[in-house]
Amino acid sequence: MLDLASTNGQISQEQSLENSPLAIRGLTVSYGQKPAVFSVDMTVEPGKMTAIIGPNGAGKSTMLKAALGIVPPVSGQIQVFGKPLDAQRARIAYVPQRASVDWDFPTRVIDVVLMGLYRELGLLGRLRGDHKAKAMDCLDRVGMGDFATRQIGQLSGGQQQRVFLARALAQGADLYLLDEPFAGVDAATEKAIIGVLKSLREAGKTVVVVHHDLATVADYFDNVFLINTRKVAEGTVAEAFTAETLQAAYGGRLATAQVDQLALALG
């Protein structure tokens, strides 16, 4: 393992591209003629938790989806652990927004988690006991073990979110990308999710989260990536999450009092 953390973002461009779990260069994504993300560079630091923040419609989720090849970019390059995205799919786990699926789909909690083992199972591989044990273990880690055989539609929003996280855990990836995992969830879920994410970081994994709650950024994350269609700031929380950068990203949408309060909280 290379100790990159100590260099604190001062690494040369080339080196960072080689070693970054996710490096984005010149990414532009557009729905129709209006770019949602414009010429964005991002270099995710390994073994850290990074928050992508910005106002509504700033292109946070779009950037994540483009990084995963879910939406086609107009231009830009994506490198995952120094290689093209498609060569590294097995090392990435994605947790989509809860609202992106139909929760009346005929499937149980355990079946959703087993989808995370898709690569291990292959097209015709038999579902064995150890697969189920692994899925159960992932459910236990998010505190959902007791729900394994329930229909997914019976879960609360927060529980659904945790099932999605368990599915990502089952993949055993090195890079975790989560799209608004804390949106509209209960306090218990938020606690469970952040606990799991921190344990992933302790295990040397890299976590990138699209986040909307400015109040918790400093508590939860090491690094911040501020975006409003264009990149506004990138770096450690101390560097990139300041009154100036927030004002630049949010403009008039964030009350001055709010900015001051956050700046105060950050010290």
Binding site: L68, G69, D86, I92, S100, V101, T107, L123, S156, Q171
Partner: protein, 401 residues
Amino acid sequence: MLIDALLLQLGYNATLVAIGATLLGISAGVTGTFLFLRKRALVSDAISHATLPGVCIAFLLMASFGGDGRNLIGLLLGSAASASVGLWCLNWLTRNTRLAEDAAIGSVLSVFFGFGIVLLTVIQTLGVGRQAGLEGFLLGSTAGMLWADAMVIAVGGAVTLLLILLIRRPMTLVAFDPEYAAARGLPVSKIDMAMMGLVMAVTVVGLKIVGLILIVALLIIPAVTARFWTERSDYVVLLAGLAGGLSAYIGAAMSASAPNLPTGPIIVLVSFALFLFSLLFAPNRGVLAAVLRHFRFQRRVHLRQGLLALAQGQPIYEKLTLRLLRNGGLVRADGVATDKGKARAAKALRDERRWAVVRSDQAHEAAAALYDGLRQIESVLTQDQITEIDRQIGGPKEVLA
């Protein structure tokens, strides 16, 4: 007569039709389930209507080259070709224009079908090469079914089922969560195309029996029927195959048991009967179950509210509540609580407090999720857990019901 038909005792043709229809029903039910799960059921209607021009053009080509215009393989290849063109148009319209899929389906379906009908009329006025029976592709015609026709259906259905076995996991993943599937590197649009290709294969193979107008019923109704009985997608697939096969078999037998009963439409009606039965009587998702559940729920709410009112000495005005309490021997005719009523009321109040503890404690989350204000706390917690909760609440050690 029907018994004979069900036991395949009605002669060569009837037996051939029954076997062919059953195989078709199974593969259509299984294939259609994935379409249903992907919420693209109506696409199959566009595909099937788009087969007609192909059938006609293939007939014209084969007849003009001096062959037998009614060669089934030739006609089916033609229908597959024009269905592919229709599917391509549909995908192009949805992807490259602002047209929503339902509008695109409507356009493709009507234009292709209209064109097919024009060709059909032209063929009939031309009077070339024994065209009689070509219109049978609209609603299916099994009267002159040959051994070779049955073989086409058997082989086509078997190949379709094998392919589904092979790609069932990616298809399910894409149907449930296409974004996640894409993030894992699955070729989502290719998987969708493969699914449509399978639907097309079933449609083409089924033209002879149910015809292009009704094939959508065989693809979709079994899946919808199966959904009533299970909450697992793999079981939906299996049950849909069963429902499809069963309705096709019974339908074919019924149409053989009396003269002039059209096979395809009868199969569709039998499949509707299975659907109706499921809609009404399925244990969880059925209408009857929902109505019963509602009444039972209402009674439990009234009883519970009545007990809590008794425990807190509040007056009860609701007639249903009073009647339920009286019937249970919990209050006397004049509305005063009996000893049994008092005990139950105290227990109800105690349980409310216990639930409050359970719901505020993260350790009991799975149990708390079952809270509905009615459920007996003993049904979700062990006696030890309840004792522990009672210790937290304090007060009397045991409250007996």
